[in-house]
Amino acid sequence: MIQLYNVHKRYENGVVALHDVTLRVREGEMVFLTGPSGAGKSTLIRLLLCTERGSEGQILIGGRNIHALRDDSVPFLRRNFGVVFQDFRLIGRRNVRENVAIGMEILGLPRKDIERRTEQLLEALGIAHRGAAFPRDLSGGEAQRVAIARALVNEPAILLCDEPTGNLDPTLSREIIDLLSEVNRRGTTVLVATHDAALIERYGCRTLTLEGGRLTLDRPRRDAVGLEASGLGASAVGTASAAAPPGREATQEPAEAP
């Protein structure tokens, strides 16, 4: 689903944000991307979203090389993604329903379909009663649920989450990751950038560690013990990466050539 081959990102001021990163995330996987601040997690997400372009290397999304993607094709690539941010990035002028509806308005869906799908999602995420509220009136947990609803509204193939629990307390953080795991269980590929070691430990998903722009560790998914402890089914996530040996060094080449 996501393949990176020898990706470098060097800024004009000489700072190297990513250095020779090669990795592969399979369809339906849930992967944590971790590392200290400045390790390159957010840069990697920005490269996937094409808000920045890599300096070298190849990035394939669903088999499509995005390195040479023309600017006017970028919006259509982005429709494959749902994006969730640490600071929620809800639009203050729009209420919860209107925030969730944006993605469908972009696609030009009929008003009736937009309303129906919005209500369904708010119901599923337990925030239907907050539909008319504005972002300023929401708690952190509610705001992040709205952000997740907005990201999922067009049923994206990939959900990218940049520190989605960064502004939440541990209980709410677990709720949000449980929610993302549920989304993943339904077939969406989920990539979560976080530096919350406790969460990573608790969920035991495949974990990619970035340090100083280099991918230093690709730890495969721990067996279902951790997931059961969190109340999720054993069939939850990452079946494709489960067979890989634990602690595999990240420098290993992906199986398929670009």
């Binding site: 808000t51 919006p75 429709r79 993604f81 994006v83 203050g92 944006i102 009929p110």
Partner: protein, 300 residues
């Protein structure tokens, strides 16, 4: 969404943006309205001055006085020569007697009592009526120059061409035109700048929304359309206000000209098509300003 629903969606988004910063939009609309009103007034002044010149031009004549001893054949030859000249509508030839008879009618009968017939002035004369197509000062100057050349023709004694007032009017009109064009351009530029700034502020206050829309896969057209419509709507509203303002002023002026100066203004002081020009020009101005602002300030 079909194209109409889509257009309505963008218009709704534009109206929401305008509602979010009403005062800024009011200032923008008023600036456009003032600019377009003054442009309209200049157009009105120019149009009416031209109409006046056309009227005056159509009553212009050149009198070519011939020497007393000019033979009828010579007079006819000169008449033929003048008749063929561009800008001459008709030539009327008066004999010495006919000219004298006309002068007699112009003079006070009491003055003429007991006066010798020979004392009443009379001279063979060719009267040239000119076309009303004297559209510019250049046309008039060419005619004045031609009148000077006629004076040099053999048997021509004098040429009278009462074009001085018209020349003055042309000069005034040229000044009005130059001032009008410069002032209109300055006003339109200021209106352009106001819309430009309004859209810039709208972009700035919506940068979070723009970023999210872009990340969710909105195309450039989707993001830009509401801003362009906002600019066009400002222009349309400004044009509507300008039309009402110019219309009211026009009614006042027409009444004044008719009742106070007792002039018959037909059919109207308002240039034809001006309403349409304002209705097209206003939104076009807004659209251009919004487009420039988006090009300069929107990075998606």
């Amino acid at each position: 969404m079909n194209p109409i629903t889509r257009a309505l969606y963008f218009a709704g988004a534009a109206l929401r943006m305008m509602r979010a910063s009403p005062w800024l939009n009011v200032v923008s609309v008023l600036t456009i309205a003032v600019s377009l009103s003054l442009c309209g007034l200049f157009a009105m002044a120019f149009f009416n001055a031209h109409a006046l010149i056309r009227d005056l031009g159509s009553s212009l004549t050149i009198q070519v006085y011939l020497a007393d001893e000019t033979t009828p054949e010579r007079a006819q030859a000169i008449e033929q020569r003048l008749r063929g000249h561009e800008g001459v509508r008709s030539v009327v030839a008066l004999t010495r007697e006919a000219d004298r008879e006309r002068n007699r009618k112009l003079l006070d009968p009491e003055l003429l009592e007991g006066l010798d017939e020979e004392a009443i002035p009379g001279q063979p004369v060719l009267e040239l009526e000119l076309d009303s197509a004297l559209a510019s000062r250049g046309d008039l100057e060419r005619m004045v120059e031609w009148a000077r050349q006629i004076e040099k023709v053999e048997s021509v004694e004098d040429v009278a061409f009462g074009a001085e007032r018209l020349r003055l009017l042309f000069a005034v009109l040229e000044i009005v035109q130059s001032v009008g064009v410069v002032l209109s351009l300055v006003l339109l530029a200021s209106a352009l700048f106001f819309v430009f700034s309004t859209v810039r502020l709208a972009i700035w206050s919506r940068r979070d929304e723009i970023e999210i829309l872009a990340l969710m896969g909105a195309t450039r057209r989707f993001i830009r359309s509401p801003f362009l419509i906002e600019g066009a709507l400002q222009g349309l509203l400004g044009a509507a206000v300008a039309i009402v303002a110019v219309g009211l002023l026009h009614l006042e002026l027409e009444g004044l000209v008719r009742d106070v100066y007792l002039l018959n203004v037909q059919p109207s002081l308002l240039p034809p098509g001006m309403v349409m020009w304002l209705l097209v020009g206003g939104p076009a101005l807004g659209l251009v300003a919004a487009g420039l602002s988006l090009g300069r300030h929107l990075r998606v």
